[in-house]
Symmetry: C2
Subunit: 395 residues, 2 copies
């Protein structure tokens, strides 16, 4: 069993009235002037942004606002935010939204605290992070897990590079989670979010290190809970109980617990980042389009793990005489699940047309850093592997 | 579903070489002079205490030592520790041992940081805790979960009062966990520890709030993992993989995750505290002696929960026509489990003689604070309820 470090210090306030505590929490973690960071108009229309701003003011906390974060958040807005925070003397980043807004906020937090470093250099692994402004969130879209993780993913429009970075300095101080805020999510966003959080578990679950039973059992329990809850919320978007399961599961999936003691994989995320960068698709949908092909391509690396997944998560009958068939039935069951929640299972369904060989070659080139990088813990993918998987996934 | 707060900031370093990091971690969390707190001779004999002392010295951290913590740790030693720390200018408490040592260390941490308050007053709920010295541990006995929880239980020998107290200021800064250190635990201690950690889950799992599926599913996964691992380590004490499952499960069980979104119970712990205070028995063994009777007495409060436990944790076939029979079979299966790992299932087996009516009345009097307190979330137990459960449990 692998040694591990576990550290998840984010304070979570979860429930219907949780937003009321925002000013107290900002002050508790040292904030005096906040950047209220958000995305599109939904936070404005819903009244949430106004409510948070009012609560901060009433609590004696100053703030400035910066909206406009888009899915696959952009480096240009990060630079704008860094300049704004320096100008205004902001000492705390409060993201109101989902993973994109939090990831953008983390990038701003790095940039403000390190004025002598171009923030993109952290993503390029060309700089070492030792400090960042404190970050926290009022979560409205459960999926990315960024509200408790130390990770951020940013897209540099100059070349369509989408890169991730992580470190303990980026662990958010607190997360306010009110499941009611997720009830207005469109079905596609709900389904894409669920896909994303399940993939965060898959990236840890599919490993050669299958000797860490507790981590594995907790992962399976979380996956089964998500799998059941999503159909209830697609049927009844106002199902508080099941919205709450999904919201909390999104955090559990990604704060680290479900990967302890084993090597992680993350190749599917890398493959999807190129899809998002090239076609600006929803991250969760991109993952659904890639994962079944990744799974078929890599399952021989640890077949019994895919058998276990089929039986324990996807309720496939175990044919003990034919483990490969059982494993494949698990992947097929996952594809049926994706279709049932309105997600694609290949790239054609994702982007609405056939992907070209040139596009595949370009994605594989970038994903492999011109052949210099082989992501993937279960199977380290060469550039040729990537081409093969993208082709399997073209549909 | 109930609102909840989640906060578990303890940094865990888990694995064979984890102790090597002790000086770095103490300094990271601000320690310059450490109280090295420990129990009996096993920490000395094993060489662990010397190793930690040497690592601290080499890392430039001063220390003083205080041993002698006993199971059901005593207030008198806490007072001694507080005086020692004040005299020596200690600013960090490092417990080397199990739950008793950590709990004693937490009490000392409260006392040193609050010189104007008698530390026992916190346990009596007659004082409010706002600060404590930082506490951390090198864990050698997985069971109590104190290494990541904000709780402490201390016995005041003056009247045999055993009381618990908790608060965020007591959350340990870090926990060093090396499963190899648990390999020398005698079978009885291993079994009692497993019983304790399972009870930490039971106290949260048996609730009327059975609408928090994720918490429930995670709890069941943890219980099943423990239940399997314990037989392997009783058979082969040096089974690193399964020792690691148990060690990590002990933390997962008690840091808070497995209670989120639901009311907790904790009556069995209260009933056992009186047994420990009166007969100085091992806490885990006392829990095993009480729980089956508590379960039979309270199961009608939420019968479907006990049915679920029987089926999902104890592998009882669900007789859908007779839920009460299914629930009882789950409790019986748990009793068989206790016997199989060498734990008692009633008070006679625990203390080696019949308990008297007077002793039962005295325990119920103290547990109920002379009838003024009714602990228990699933069923609030009156003094009469306590008498009834102790009598059911006499064996």
């Amino acid at each position: 069993m692998r040694d591990f470090n576990y550290y998840a210090p984010t304070e979570v306030v979860f429930g219907r009235e949780s937003e009321e505590q925002v000013a107290r929490l900002v002050k508790k973690y040292g904030g005096t002037k906040v950047l209220l960071h958000y995305g599109g108009q939904s936070a404005v229309r819903s009244g949430l942004l106004d409510k948070i701003a009012r609560l901060l003011s009433e609590g004696g906390v100053e703030y400035v606002t910066l909206g406009g974060v888009v899915p696959n958040p952009r480096l240009s807005l990060v630079h704008e935010g860094i300049a704004l925070c320096r100008r205004e003397g902001v000492d705390f980043i409060l993201a109101v939204g989902g993973g994109s807004v939090i990831d953008s906020g983390k990038a701003i937090a790095m940039g403000v605290a390190n004025p002598d470093e171009e923030v993109w250099n952290y993503y390029l692994q060309q700089a070492t992070l030792t400090r960042a402004l404190p970050v926290a969130s009022v979560l409205t879209i459960p999926a990315a897990g960024s509200e408790m993780s130390g990770n951020t993913v940013i897209t540099n429009e100059d070349g369509n590079f989408k890169l991730g970075f992580g470190g303990p300095a980026l662990r958010p101080k607190f997360a306010i989670m009110n499941p009611e805020r997720t009830m207005t999510l469109p079905p596609y966003q709900t389904a894409a979010g669920v896909t994303d959080m399940m993939l965060h578990i898959f990236e840890r679950y599919f490993t050669k290190d299958d000797d860490m039973e507790l981590t594995t059992a907790l992962a399976e329990a979380t996956l089964r809970t998500i799998k059941t809850a999503v159909f209830d919320v697609l049927k009844n978007p106002n199902d508080y109980r099941q919205r709450a399961q999904i919201m909390w599961a999104g955090s559990v999936a990604h704060w680290g617990l479900l990967g302890m003691g084993q090597q992680e994989d993350w190749a599917t995320h890398q493959l999807e980042h190129e899809l998002s960068a090239m076609f600006d698709v929803t991250h969760g949908a991109g993952l659904a389009a890639i994962w079944p092909s990744w799974a078929r391509y890599t399952m021989q690396e640890n077949l019994r793990r895919f058998v276990r997944f089929a039986v324990n998560v996807m309720d496939v009958d175990n044919d003990f005489t034919q483990p490969e068939q059982t494993a494949l039935k698990g992947i097929e069951a996952m594809e049926r699940f994706y279709r049932a929640i309105g997600m694609p299972t290949n790239i054609r369904e994702l982007i609405g047309r056939d992907i070209t060989d040139d596009e595949i070659d370009e994605m594989a080139r970038k994903c492999s850093h011109d052949g210099k990088r082989s992501p993937g813990g279960l199977k380290a993918l060469t550039r040729d592997d990537m081409v093969a998987i993208y082709r399997m996934a073209r549909g």
